[in-house]
């Protein structure tokens, strides 16, 4: 019983990894935009579960807080407003099928090669990297990157509004 409980973490890790992989594959295979979004949400949640299992609970919380309950909520909001009679998404393959397939093969080749070389993945625990340590690192080393990202996001928002305004003028 004790040994079983020790191994339970490993078992859970495989379960969560399998589920997040299944979600990722579903995201690529499914066609309806809402189904794709739901598959992506599932992947995010299971990735969060893996973070929680490794012991960095607050990274798991950020994963779900930022990706699921902020980004994906907005994406789903947009998909909700799509015209359901628009059948563009029912086409199975896009025009760039062959280049895409080649890129996918290369990507998986690189990934497999990297995994082949590095077998041991170092895992941190809560003791090593708690939320306090994260805050200190974040505000002392990475604050500049964070601020630059927000400037980029503001630029993107301005650009999006400009595109919408320009499009509105053309169509009257």
């Amino acid at each position: 019983m004790e040994a079983l409980l020790q191994e339970f973490d490993t078992l859970l890790l495989y379960v969560f990894a399998g589920l997040s992989l299944a979600g990722a594959i579903a995201m690529l295979v499914l066609q309806h935009p809402m189904r794709v979004a739901m598959a992506l949400v599932a992947t995010m949640i299971w990735l969060g579960a893996i973070y929680g299992l490794v012991g960095v609970h607050f990274i798991a919380a950020f994963q779900i807080l930022i990706y699921v309950s902020a980004v994906m909520v907005f994406i789903i909001y947009v998909i909700m407003l799509l015209d359901v009679r628009d059948m563009a998404y029912t086409r199975r393959y896009a025009g760039l099928l062959i280049p895409g397939a080649i890129a996918a093969v290369v990507f998986f080749g690189v990934l497999a090669a990297t995994l082949w070389r590095t077998v041991e993945v170092p895992l941190t625990t809560t003791a090593a990297f708690g939320i306090g340590q994260f805050a200190v690192d974040f505000l002392q080393q990475y604050w500049l990157q964070f601020e630059v990202t927000s400037v980029l996001l503001v630029a993107a928002v301005v650009a999006a509004i400009a595109v919408v305004k320009a499009g509105g003028k053309d169509h009257g």
Partner: protein
């Protein structure tokens, strides 16, 4: 190891029982309180008859919640021709499950020492050893973040329900739900930041332990006395997050016919309702944890009472545990009843007013509160 598992399974069982009981009882509280407030008798028909006797247990209609649940379960699950069957079936669960999960990080009692609790039975006491357990399912250093993370997931459920129903009222309800819940979650997060600054931790157990002291010699050191402004804003934002009157625009009965769950019947609709009532209890529990000292009774510690003036009343461990559990439940019940009081007191906003209230009134106030807190904390350091 197995001891940990046993203790935590007991906690999980307790948490589920409490939440489901609250969900059932609050449906009755809502009706009965409405009746009292509008000077009617209210729900008083459902009863249980003790078998083979003529004794009917009415208990002020307390069994109406059970009758509702039974009715929902045995009712026909009518399946409309929906746009997306899978999303339609999944949506109630996406709303319901995260709300139950939030309770995992809320401390519902102080430290539990099984060895002291079972002191009368030496075999059991020895098996548990000297370990103490916080009465909380998962003690995480990012506890409060987890609460908000799970809170965000249920937005997706409401939007999915409205979208998949292929009904324009549902669609409108889903759009309203999405916009409203995103707006108010932001306000809720900002109101709590001030408390985080004062306590210096995200861990809900540590937050509650911070509130066990005494302020100015007589006041219990509860969050509501540090941040009265934030407490008010938090409560308002939480009620809006739960989509209840005066913020019930997504489900407005008179204009949208229950909004995003118009097309649901039987227990699927019951899950939405149940989720709403359980969320009342969850909001009560969160408010209690953050602002009302959680399981702390004023002047009481894990050893017993210490009254101002130096009187000490030591209590055995078992009594302390029971007092803490009951204190937490009573506080949650009072806060739930307060939310129902608001529901029956205020009229409904217009939708533009709801969003304006969030972005132009509550958000600036929350930011101002945060600024003042930051300056105060900085000056006092």
């Amino acid at each position: 190891m197995i001891q940990d598992l046993v203790v935590h399974l007991v906690y999980i069982g307790y948490a589920l029982t409490v939440l489901l009981l609250f969900g059932t009882v609050l449906t009755w509280v809502e009706r009965k309180q409405a009746a009292v407030m509008s000077d009617r008798i209210g729900a008083n028909r459902a009863y249980i008859r003790i078998p083979f006797t003529r004794v009917k247990l009415i208990w002020w209609g307390l069994f109406h919640g059970m009758a509702d649940g039974l009715k929902m379960i045995v009712k026909e699950d009518w399946k409309p021709a929906v746009y997306d069957k899978f999303a339609y079936a999944l949506a109630p669960w996406i709303v319901f499950t995260p709300i139950l999960l939030v309770f995992a990080v809320i401390p519902f009692g102080g430290a539990l020492e099984p060895a002291k609790l079972f002191a009368g039975i030496p075999a059991v006491a020895q098996w548990f050893g000297e370990k103490t357990y916080q009465m909380q399912i998962a003690q995480l250093d990012g506890g409060l973040l987890i609460v908000f993370a799970f809170g965000g997931i249920s937005v997706i459920g409401a939007m999915l329900a409205g979208w998949s129903s292929s009904n324009k009222y549902s669609m409108l309800g889903a759009l309203r739900a999405g916009g409203q819940m995103i707006s108010y979650e932001l306000v809720m997060g900002l109101t709590v930041l001030g408390l985080i600054l004062i306590y210096g931790t995200f861990d809900l157990t540590a937050i509650v332990q911070h509130q066990s002291g005494i302020l100015l010699g007589f006041l219990p050191a509860w969050g509501v006395f540090y941040q009265p402004f934030a407490a008010t804003l938090f409560m308002a934002a939480a009620i809006a997050e739960n989509k209840r009157i005066p913020f019930d625009l997504p489900e407005a009965e008179s204009e949208l016919i229950a909004g995003f769950y118009t097309e649901y019947s039987a227990m699927k609709m019951g899950l939405f309702m149940f989720a709403e009532f359980i969320e009342i209890a969850i909001i009560g529990a969160l408010f209690t944890t953050l602002f009302l000292g959680g399981y702390n009774l004023p002047y009481m510690s894990d050893a017993g009472f210490l009254l101002p003036g130096g009187h000490e009343i030591p209590l055995p461990h078992g009594v302390v545990v029971v007092i803490q559990l009951v204190t937490f439940l009573v506080k949650v019940l009072v806060m739930s009843s307060f939310q129902i009081l608001i529901r029956w007191s205020l009229p409904r906003f217009r939708y533009d007013q709801v969003l304006m209230f969030a972005w132009k009134f509550m958000l600036p106030l929350a930011l101002a509160n945060l600024t003042v807190t930051v300056v105060a904390v900085w000056l006092l350091q």
